[in-house]
Amino acid sequence: MLSPYCVLDLADEKGLLAGKVLADLGADVIKIEPPSGNPSRKLGPFYQDKESPENSLYWMAYNTSKRGITLNLEKPRSQDLFRGLIKKADFVIESFPPDYMEKLGIDYHQLKDTNPQLIWSSITPFGRTGSYKDYQASDLITMAMGGVAFITGDENRPPLRLALNQSYTLAGIHCVSACLTALMYRNATNQGQHIDISIQEAIATTLWSSVPIWEFLNINEPRMGNKGTYGNFVFMREVWQCKDGYVVRLPIGGLWGAQDWGGLASWMEEDGVIGSLKGVDWASMDTTNLSQQQVDAWEADMARFFLLHTKVELEDGAAKRGMKLIGVQTVPDIMNSKHLHARSYWKELDHSELKRTIIYPGYYFQSDKTKHGPRSRAPHIGEHNKEVYKEKLGLSAGEVESLKQQGVI
């Protein structure tokens, strides 16, 4: 879908997903790394637990379909090469500290005259300006500062981040969306621009319930463990332990809720464990008028019921009864999902250097007209130096070799 466009991707783990999505959608994405390799190559897990820059599964996961070149941005000769590449590019994605590229003389505002149509995205923890711009961060810090950690976890234990680096992938996909928004603007005006993305702000954007709850009620939405609140701050459990794992069931009210609660109650009756749920008129039950005491009594009985069944039994029985219940899927469950296989979601990529294939998450959406998804494994350090420097800057193989020896690339 994006085959006409060329992207220079200088980002570390904070922005890897952005270039990957553009590459998987067809753009020519050139990953520019220092000669020692991108810092994210140090992130695990590693292939067969063998730690090395070429074995990072984290790197592999987020650099599919890209070509890779090396360039030491801190050398003057390299900066000439970078200026040359800028002329051929539509997008730049970088995640350096706010003043890093400016000090090298190769920041957006120093280069934009070279290519006025260029769209340049900077991904930083807090944004390129403002009082926190130089604060040190990591995913854990932006999860905390953006508000997600406060509402995640058990009420009697410390707040939690979401697993893996979700603030980076969230900022990454916001970056792609922003790049294409700027492309729409460029299509209309022929002008490029700079985009300043804050990871903290991306996380703050997700606080859709906490924000109006504070604004209208002056209440800080609390951590509720596995519970949700369905009106008047009565907490109701969403994740239930069953025989062989966990399931999710939302204790919602209204029309859907009546069917769900009714189905659950009749099932508990069949199993002989209905307890306190007996005789409730679910059609008129209003979740906003329940007391915590009432909910706690029901939940004690429900907990016993769920432990009688496996995930699959509960899913199948729920489907028959029109209930919205689903098992909590582990990584193996997800990779073995019949549903995802039926949709041909997974993509097996060739790793000839490892003499095997590895299975990757595939497309971002399905389309009746266009196809996309990971096309090739992540590049090795400098793998496409000769090819890219020849194609973009007309350098010969000999020139590339000599630049390599000078430590430029």
């Binding site: 897990p45 995913d139 950690a149 979700q166 991306a202 990779m335």
Partner: protein, 402 residues
Amino acid sequence: MTTLLPLEGVKVVDLTWVAFGPWVTKYLADHGAEVIKIESTTRPDIIRLSPPYKDNKAHPDRAGLFTVFNSSKRSLTLNLKNPKGLELLKKLVKWADVVVENMGVGAMKNLGLDYEQLVKLKPDIIMVSMSILGQSGPLSFFQGFGPHGAALSGVYALTGWPDGEPTSNTLAWPDCVCPWYATTAIMAALDYKRRSGKGQFIDISQVETTIHGFAPAMLRYSANDQVTNRMGNRCDEAAPHGIFRCQGFDRWCAIAIRDDAQWKALCEAIGKREWASKFATLKQRKANEDIIEKAIDEWTAPQMAEDVMKKLQSIGVPAGVVQNAENLFADPQLKHRDHFPKLDHPVMGKTTHPSWPAKFSASPAQLKPAPALGQDNEYVCTKILELSDQEFIELVNSGVLE
């Protein structure tokens, strides 16, 4: 003077509701698209009927959650059970470039508005269907919400304490992630149409998009046969890496040590200078994480979270207050970026309509208040569909616009 917005001239028929669908069309509208949100007075978007309400008065135009997801749109109420209502919707499809929906799988077909039918009305239409699991496949019948998507994509299984349960929260993480894959798909499709003249049908799933955030765990299972499990706040690449108790009720500070220099600085700060060499390597710190975390906790507990953050940041150590909603509204950095603009809502008055994490140098987003239910009926009928005043009045009188 208003600057040109990136999506100016893009026309969108918005059949989304609740959260993750409306978020997509909010993005398009805030960046210049003309978005017509279609509801009915008998079945408004259910998020209009969800608390909290402004001044605690339950009313479809006073729901805070609706303002979060619906700025800059126009609102049209249409009775789709009335054949004339359906006819008006089809006219809007002819006008539109993009139709977005997140109804249950099959609902558009039941209305006679599936892609096959839309193409007959507008050959180059871009139709986007958003759902939990996609439009096809054995589980596509499952009509759930974001928390179901979170259970299906690994968010819950992987988030939590190693000795605890899978952990949910109110965000429904896929609701917060999938929309930006959808805006990406829509703009890529618009550019593809500009170049090829062709529209397309896009089927986007919460689960399939959210899994990309867990790709390293998927590759690890595929390549190493290893299953990634819950790790609390810890991770393999950095230690210590946790959230520590501070002074006051439910006050905390996150600290993440990513290299040896940061470790050395932290050891100085917490008065454990000898640990700089004793636990010099990541491996040593991982092996002694329990006692290191205990010492940090003892150091942070009597201090204000803000002081811990400032002290550590001043010596180059990554640290951040675990901010609650109140803190976010007061956060100087989010203020600097104008993240919570207050717009003059037609019913609620000055109300927060959250902005976006990407700031554009040439074409910044321009947010307008979320619409009251049906507030643009006349505009849509007379200005967009170019009906006469008489025709509009007849539609009103015959209950089509309800």
